[in-house]
Amino acid sequence: MSFIKSTAFKYIPILVFAIIIADYFFAISGLGSIAEALRQFAVVISNIALGLGVISLLKIHGKNVQRRVEGRWLYSIVTIVTFLTVFILGLINTNGEQYQWAFRNVYTTLEQTMYASTGFFIVSSAYRAFRARNIDAALLLISGCIVVFTNAPIGEVIWSGFPVIGDWLLGPGQLPGYRVLMLIAGFGTIVYAYRVITGNERGFFGGGE
């Protein structure tokens, strides 16, 4: 076990990274089929992660029910019962009428209602938090309001300058900043990859640092 932890876990990620990167940038013959197999592993693991999520969900909510956690356990029962009902219906037939009914009339409506209700929270939080307490906040607020009027046709009706300024803010105004962010993230990924390749990054398999 210690050999696996100390050596195999260290060199497997290095090997995988090296193969995938070499295949992407240099298309070395013979490497393609190995990279393909590795990518297929990744896809399979992603699917397994869904199953892992189910186990985690049942474990957490099962504990809530078992321990009668105040303010949570009743909701946990609802979660478990709903999950099991839809899961069993899906196992019987995903194209069956009952499963489709649950999807169409329960999931769809609840999901849309939840998303729509965020509109109320956005307005509420905007009213309470968007205060121009200093120059920076005032500039942010004014820019935000101009962009809002750029996206809504009424902005152009109120003043034809709104979309002009708004499009500038969304284009040249924000592009340099956003590009810098993306470049930083890109460089960060390269550094992370380098740390993995050199065996210094072990956090992703629970190895501490």
Partner: protein, 275 residues
Amino acid sequence: MANQTIFDRLDKLDRRVYYWLIVLVITWPLISPIGLPITIKPSTRALYGGLQTVQEGDVVLIDIFMSVSTWPECMGGLVVETNTLIDRGARLVYMGNSVDVARSWDRLKELVPKLQTLEYGEDVVFLGYYAGEDAAAAQMAVDMSSVFPADHYGRPIAEIPLMSDANRAADFAMVLFTAEGEVKWIQQWGAAYGVPVAGMGIAMKGSALAPYLASGDIFGLAVGVRGAAELEALAGMPAAATKTMDAISSTHLLFVILIILANLPVIYSKIKGGN
């Protein structure tokens, strides 16, 4: 209570007041539409123009990343894209990284009756859900059948004629993303194999996608309900997104008015020399 100024009242305004105002400003234009004109943005025009370049028989991949909650923003645009591509004689491959992609596919079929007239397996295929993001997209680029051994309905890929012509990135004329998940297509298909990428983003993705648009990594972009309404206008088929635009206008106006009202007490206290 009697000593409260108008600014104190504004500062402590009951949230139910503006909740009701939102309900009013959304329902009113839906009942009685105003029909404000919409200016079409160049990015939306570029997306629609790109769709017009598709030749008969070209295969187009459409990634339905949206969940049912983002239908109001993106479904209208997807309907226009689908109708336009069908009219161009394209062959369509749908899939999605959202767990409810099958529900979105069913809804799309309801909204685009032309989809029912296409021969399934020859002109259109629904591959269903996939997991794995970048790894999946990279693998699809070299061997689609290894990610999707069968379509959503369980029919083996090997038995689907369309998929025998479209098993790797080079076989596709274009990739269209919906709502999110664009980066994997840009990096794994666009940059690596030169497949043109474009699509629709939810409103909040507009600024995040702007750098890709400016750099030419995506050739077109429609953002949010407005983008969908612009596509509807370009295609000459006003539908749900166009109807929603008046409600967008009224809610956005209310949003700005509320922000101004909320800031009056701050301005007042600053004038008075307080915090």
